[in-house]
Amino acid sequence: MARILAVDDSPSMRQLVKLALSSGGHQVDVATDGVEALQVAERQQFDVVITDVNMPNMDGISLVRELRRRKNYRFVPLLMLTTESTAERKQQGKEAGATGWLVKPFDPDRLLSIVTKVLT
């Protein structure tokens, strides 16, 4: 079982990610944007962070950049889960330090298998 932080400004998306991952036995915490995610991630250590890209206050790419600056998140898998799929945005995510780029809508089983893969 892994501790996962799901970050999305959409309440229903947070619920769906939580539902998909908790069915695999993972413990899922949620945050509504990059600022809140940073606060939560400082209070406790997560094994994986899954974040949306477009969010108010702090977007997902900035969040990834900020997390990578912290020693305890340097090697933690950080996945982007977004509707955006342009090569330019993916490149920005990659440069910020993201581990992978998943395009919504996600399939629950597929999301679970990707999380399993990045955890091993």
Binding site: S10, L16, S23, V103, V118
Partner: protein, 157 residues
Amino acid sequence: MAIAAADTRCRCETLGVSAEAAAILLAFAMRESETPAVELGSALERLGRELRPAVGAPGPEALTRELAACVRALQFHDRLMQQLAVIRNLLTRLADHPLPQMAGFGAQRWEELLSALRERLATGSHDELFELLVRTGGVGVAGGAGGEQAEGSSELF
């Protein structure tokens, strides 16, 4: 001449007011649909818990498949909200900064209006959505703007 100028100003004011009204109506509609979507998400969460006899244990296969279909389908509500938010923001900007040089919606002015609107788009995805709406008058059956072939795809770096 003076009458024509006054008419132009009047049309621009009408356009601004219409854009503002449309933005407000959209915002209300979006807010109204958020609670039912969250309720549906919560119901799915509860169903998911009921389906699993123990944490991490597999639930009944057919029902788990149905639940996965619900999870996929509900994400389109989120996508719709994002697209509506883009349109709402566009309308708000239009209302905040009316286009004084636009006398109306005649064919001659249409390209100028589109070009002015394009300049106000914030990101590539907004641009893609706008182009899609302008080109087809609506979002296609498959949904999505430009990147629809990548839907559900994943890439590990």
